[in-house]
Symmetry: C2
Subunit: 372 residues, 2 copies
């Protein structure tokens, strides 16, 4: 049944408008990983990997990768681990999407430093449940994301897992010393801005979990994904906002602080305030929420604002700018101002729509999403 | 029983001459990780972490760590994942030792590039089986290794695991462009050298596995670790060979190729030969094997040469030098010449002791260790 279940939901996603390049065609072939062994697997995967950046001096094939950035550049490094059963569920997350997402969430952290991602290292642990073809799909998704962000896959590690799939990615980027943006630079009077819209990824997850539950209870019922493509894509194939970093540069804006939204708007805003030693005022009616997300939140009896504040996995950029950059930021597509920075003593507050009342921002985490 | 078993073997190791600095004393206290949450855990661990290298611009606390090496330096990066039940067994591997080993095996890859390790990022996944105190022990071991190698812990990720403990470490080092040593530079006529001794870590593992088995069958029998301290340490607390890299530099030797020994002498020699497009002749009677290892191999009915060739986890350095450096290498402590590089057509061969017969080197892997 598990197998059948996977097929049903997978087939929907293949119909969605996420047209991943098909690098490996024959879906029914199953090659056991044990046939290749670790070195064989690395060699096989490496055949599809080319280096594109001048800074990638040496990729896969030695004890370590070698990188050389231009003189004066700083190196930024971040790492994230994704675990099956904790961060993803393979019954509705296709391997290609998973690979794409694993790279996206890492390069998102590089953009959040106002830097450009250049290299990644990928470690995976897999059990014999996975075929070579499944691993190829995973890497196809990773390489597609690499291509999109101009990143080279320069190294990693492959291991046996006794339980589920584990992916650990380290992303490396470069930035001019003067361009780097920390979480700690926000000042009272700065404007608080965010890209894209929030809460959609969380609602996409709710839909996938609901359809999985229905399917597990009655395998005859086909998953109802109708009209939810956008929310599903936000969950399964998040896009790191390279375009926002580029627009900020084009418009001559250097944010005073920046962070990417992985845990939800509330948690990330509090990080900026804590690290910058400031308070903020965030306007509920300014928080960007997609129309479909609004509708689905109502269906799930969830408060859309809470989905945006605490849902997480949006991978949008949250940043502060000087007030003098107000007109410049207005020119940036897909960026809106949602509040401003205050003195620390005023605290970090949400201005509720309608009432104009202030309520302290709190990082609720996923489990605490309040019912509407 | 599991708990009791752990205590017995642990207590031996506490008596051994591995005197890890006791950062956290109260062994009986058990603080649940759920009490702190992810951010609480990171904050707590970060309190013990200080940056020491000028190149570590920003450590834990932002979206990414920031590094700036001197102009002209190249950056080397490597990553390794360790999984409970695959790479380590917590019934005989204390958390402190495990932390120390996890860092050692990563910086060993940096030394193998003739580079100096400077930063690491550490990702872990833990279940609620682990207490805060256990995680503190793990980090105490990691920080001890960091101190020894002059490395800063600048970032990472903490996650929940549904099964065992997972540790993924990325190590970053720097090297002058002209000093870097790849696997691919060996030339016919070069001398093949190795540091330390080989096979001991594998025999240490055999002893631990044997004593575990005896204990599981009869918990009344105390593990017999007598006289095996050296072998146990080689397995549980391997040392990355910083001293060898320093000696080579002091003596004006730049190896033509280098690799660290994680999978066994045979496998690594074959890597050097393949990458350098050469053959080699390796003399069995030159392979450095410790006296205790010799004795224990006999007890286990194992061929000591096979333990050295295929046992692995020695984390010694295997390298080639130009013949003109023969006299210089003789001055290096704990380094010996075990063979020489030949034309590719001659193949990679082992010269058997006594017979002077040649036998092709093969990478047997752990499962294939031949009985004597």
């Amino acid at each position: 049944m598990e197998k059948c279940h996977e097929k049903v939901i997978f087939s929907h996603l293949c119909d969605s408008n996420f047209t991943l390049r098909i690098m490996f065609e024959d879906k029914d072939a199953r090659t056991e990983l044990s046939k290749l062994g670790e070195f064989g697997l690395i060699k096989h995967l490496a055949e599809h990997i080319k280096l594109g950046n001048p800074s990638s001096v040496k990729g896969i094939g030695d004890d370590a990768a070698v990188i050389q950035f231009e003189n004066g550049k700083q190196t930024v490094v971040t790492t994230d681990m994704l675990l099956e059963g904790v961060h993803f569920d393979l019954s509705y997350c296709p391997m290609k999407h998973l690979g794409y997402k694993a790279v996206s969430v890492n390069v998102s952290d590089i953009y959040a430093m106002n830097a450009s991602p250049k290299q990644i290292l990928v470690s995976i642990a897999v059990s014999n449940r996975f075929s070579l073809e499944a691993i190829e799909e995973l890497y196809a998704g990773m390489l597609l994301a690499c291509e999109k962000h101009g990143v080279d896959l320069v190294g990693g590690d492959t291991n046996s897992s006794r339980s589920g799939l584990i992916i650990s990615i380290t992303a490396i980027g470069e930035v001019d010393k003067n361009d780097i943006v920390y979480r700690s630079g926000a000042k009272p009077g700065n404007l608080l801005c965010v890209s894209g819209d929030l809460g959609s990824a969380y609602l996409g997850l709710q839909i996938l979990e609901r359809e999985k539950k229905i399917f597990m209870e009655n395998p005859q019922i086909q998953p109802d994904m109708e009209g939810n493509d956008y929310l599903l894509e936000r969950q399964l194939k998040p896009e790191a906002r390279k375009d926002i970093i580029e627009q900020l540069k084009e418009n001559g804006i250097r944010p005073t602080s920046m962070i990417d939204i992985s845990d939800g708007l509330a948690s990330e805003t509090l990080h900026l305030c804590t690290e910058s030693n400031v308070g903020c005022r965030l306007y509920e009616n300014k928080i960007p929420i997609d129309q479909i997300a609004m509708l689905r939140a109502q269906e799930f009896n969830l408060n859309p604002t809470m989905c945006a504040l605490s849902g997480g996995e949006d991978y949008e950029l949250l940043f502060t700018i000087e007030i003098k950059d107000h007109d410049k930021v207005k020119k940036c597509k897909d960026v809106i101002i949602i509040g401003h920075i205050t003195e620390k003593a005023e605290g970090a507050n949400l201005v509720l729509t309608g009432t104009e009342m202030l309520t302290p921002l709190t990082a609720q985490g996923w489990d605490a999403l309040l019912k509407k």
